[in-house]
């Protein structure tokens, strides 16, 4: 039995750099496998919707405008996503990925819906859904 068993650690700390990372001034690169925001590539998508079926939090929805012309729009709700990466595993043609660079999601508004797809497809989808009153009720 003795006292001050951790004095050595404390003394040592006087002469070493603090362990606390001073984010956001000091930025540490996220690891390669970090699961950040979703990415989607419509040109390889086959429209199998396996990603949607297995999503544990209903974060993604795939709108198939025209399967033959590969016109897909993916609606992604960042706020629902739990970043588990199951959709990335399910996607056989590797059309879904998760970025390890974009991970700072804090925002001032609550508009977390992201549309993925070719630009003209998204425009078409938004136009169509604006016409029909049932769609787009959720925000």
């Amino acid at each position: 039995m003795r006292i001050g068993t951790m004095f050595k650690d404390i003394l040592k700390s006087f002469f070493t750099k603090s362990s606390t990372q001073l984010y956001p001034v000091e930025r540490v690169a996220p690891p390669e496998r970090y699961r950040g925001i979703l990415s989607y590539n419509p040109s390889v998508c086959t429209g199998c919707t396996l990603c949607v079926k297995d999503c544990p939090s209903d974060a993604i929805e795939l709108v198939i405008l025209d399967r033959a012309a590969k016109q897909y729009v993916m609606k992604y709700r960042m706020d629902r996503c739990i970043y588990c990466g199951q959709c990335v595993v399910n996607c056989k043609p590797k059309g879904i990925g998760m970025s390890n660079q974009e991970w700072e999601h804090a925002a001032l508004d609550q508009n977390f819906m992201v549309y993925y797809g070719k630009e003209q497809d998204i425009a078409k989808y938004l136009e169509d859904s604006a016409k029909s009153p049932i769609a787009e009720t959720e925000s």
Partner: protein
């Protein structure tokens, strides 16, 4: 004695009351009993010291069969004996209590009563333990015909009712601790009756963080559930996913590749290091030794970073898939893990020295909350809490699963059974873990990471047990052959270890109570996983952001 003989012995013990014997899976024996024969059968098993009561699962077999079933799982090493009692669904489904024979059964029985509506004849207390106070009578959330409309909160039966607190008699004062309390960071409510500074009685109430996960699991598919269960607990999230995937793979008769199994054990080992270091910090903090708290948590960052590097996340790693793992261990990760382990091992040895020599800390731990071997067995303790009393309850050693056949672990036990022994057991376990992790990294089997998993799991039921950092984690999974599980029952280690606090607080100083609670490493979110308080249709949760914000503004205007 091998497993077969052990099961035969159980069958012989149960023979006088047994109506029908079945073998639903390997190393398991099911015996059907009548409700009135339950007590003699349990007494006989208990008297013959055949295993310990691991969990009681309640099943609602549906309106068609008109029956409910209670499954009493006894585990002895890898052998499991299940006593099945069937009762009619309608009317009084009465089970005799076994809490006087096996004390921890009281929590399991309470669960049966509150979730499924079994009546427990002879139970000492009928207070609600898990379910909220304003939940209506005779509405049981795990019944098949349960409808969220039925769950409207009952006025007058409210949790805010003032409990018996303060001076309640001569020389008797009740001190409430929690659900929100500075000495207890998680939501649990305790009422300690004190005479001066000495605790003379203890009561507890859980369920402040119920999320209805078992019920929610029934409406999600097998894969979605993997992530749901991972979120039961933030600290042992991997073990939950591990136990669940082991069970589902057993049901689907899928053999997971050796490399995937080894990686699962690797993540489990790293998780154990982070969990025990976190616990060490919390305990040190409760003891007023904040230096140890700060430094152990600083070192814990090392293992958190390793986990992040390996799996892609710090907390809910999502390393598992049904039929394998997501993350491979490449040379880069292996090198990082080895370096991290070297650092951690020196630190753990240092902490081991601190907790066994520091005078101040020893004053708070040595000889406090001592649990003898016999008591540990009687209370049904699990994990490090039991191992500190010399009772080797470790599923990894007793009933190896997954990669633990190939990379066995040596069980660590201490004999003193006090808080100091619990510190020592946990830290020594970390050294064992470090050693095992290095062995795995050096001998990682080659091969694929995943195998194909069917979307529909064949009908059947299985028990899957995994050693979480806090003790044995128990999963009972039942499938009807569909895309969703029919029932998943989870018994977490914390639930069994509560008895150690309630029994040991009596007679101690009140100041020791926080240390006693911290000493068993309670995990409230693991405990409170069962019930939905108010669902999506309920009034309280349909508040929009705007309304909530408005409410907040109005509230603070007053």
């Amino acid at each position: 004695m091998n497993i077969e003989q052990n099961l035969q012995k159980a069958e012989q013990i149960l023979a006088p009351w047994n109506k029908e014997t079945t073998h639903p899976e390997l190393n398991r024996l099911d015996a059907s009993l009548a409700a009135e024969n339950l007590r003699p059968a349990v007494t006989a098993l208990h008297a013959a010291r055949w295993g310990y009561l691991s969990a009681i699962t309640g099943l609602d077999l549906g309106a068609e069969s008109g029956q409910m079933e209670a499954l009493y799982h006894f585990c002895s090493g890898p052998a499991i004996t299940t006593l099945r009692v069937r009762l009619p669904r309608t009317g009084e489904a009465t089970l005799p209590t076994i809490e006087d024979i096996i004390p921890p059964a009281t929590f399991f029985e309470r669960e049966l009563h509150e979730m499924l509506g079994f009546k427990i004849a002879g139970a000492k207390s009928n207070d609600r333990l898990f379910i909220s106070d304003d939940w209506p009578e005779d509405v049981y959330p795990l019944r098949e015909d349960f409808n969220i409309e039925q769950a409207t909160p009952v006025e007058g039966r409210h949790a805010d009712e003032t409990p018996e607190v303060g001076m309640v008699g001569e020389n008797k004062f009740v001190i409430p601790i929690g659900p929100q309390h500075p000495a207890l960071k998680e939501p649990g409510h305790f009422e300690f009756t004190v005479d001066g500074e000495v605790v003379t009685g203890a009561r507890m109430r859980l369920g402040y963080a119920h999320r209805g996960i078992e019920k929610a699991a029934e409406s999600r598919n097998w894969i979605q559930n993997l992530y749901l269960f991972e979120r039961i607990c933030g600290i042992c999230s991997h073990t939950h996913a591990y136990a669940y995937s082991l069970g589902v793979e057993k049901l689907a008769q899928v053999e997971v590749p050796a490399r995937a199994q080894a990686i699962r054990e690797l993540v489990a080992g790293l998780e154990r290091i982070h969990s025990h270091l976190l616990w060490l910090g919390v305990t040190a903090h409760e003891a007023g030794f904040d230096t140890l708290f700060m430094y152990s948590w600083r070192d814990r960052e090392t293992v958190m970073n390793l986990l992040e590097q390996l799996t892609g996340n710090r907390v809910n790693y999502s390393a598992n898939l049904l039929g394998g793992v997501k993350a491979d261990v490449g040379p880069e990760q292996a090198k990082a893990i080895k370096e991290g382990l070297n650092f951690l091992e020196t630190r753990i040895r240092h902490y081991l020295e601190v907790v066994t020599t520091d005078t101040m800390f020893l004053n708070r731990t040595r000889g406090i909350g001592t649990i003898s071997y016999e008591e540990a067995e009687e209370f049904g303790l699990l994990g490090p809490t039991a191992r500190a009393s010399g009772l080797l309850r470790d599923v990894r050693v007793e009933a190896p699963y997954g990669a633990y056949h190939q990379f066995p672990i040596s069980g660590v036990t201490e004999t003193n059974g006090d808080l100091e022994a619990r510190c020592v057991v946990r830290l020594k376990e970390l050294l064992v873990s470090c050693f095992a992790l290095r062995t795995i990294l050096d001998n990682l089997p080659e091969g694929p990471l995943t195998v194909r998993m069917p979307r529909k799991v064949p009908a059947g039921e299985t028990v899957s047990r995994v050693e979480a950092p806090r003790g044995e984690l128990f999963y009972y999974i039942k499938s009807n052959g569909g895309e969703h599980p029919a029932r998943v029952h989870i018994r977490t280690p914390s639930l069994c270890n509560w008895v150690s606090v309630l029994e040991k607080a009596v007679g101690r100083q009140l100041a020791d109570v926080p240390m006693l609670i911290a000493g068993m490493d309670p995990c409230f979110s693991c405990n409170d996983r069962l019930v939905t308080t108010v669902g999506r249709t309920g009034e309280r949760q349909t508040w929009s952001w705007k309304q909530l914000r408005q409410h907040g503004i109005e509230y603070y205007k007053r």
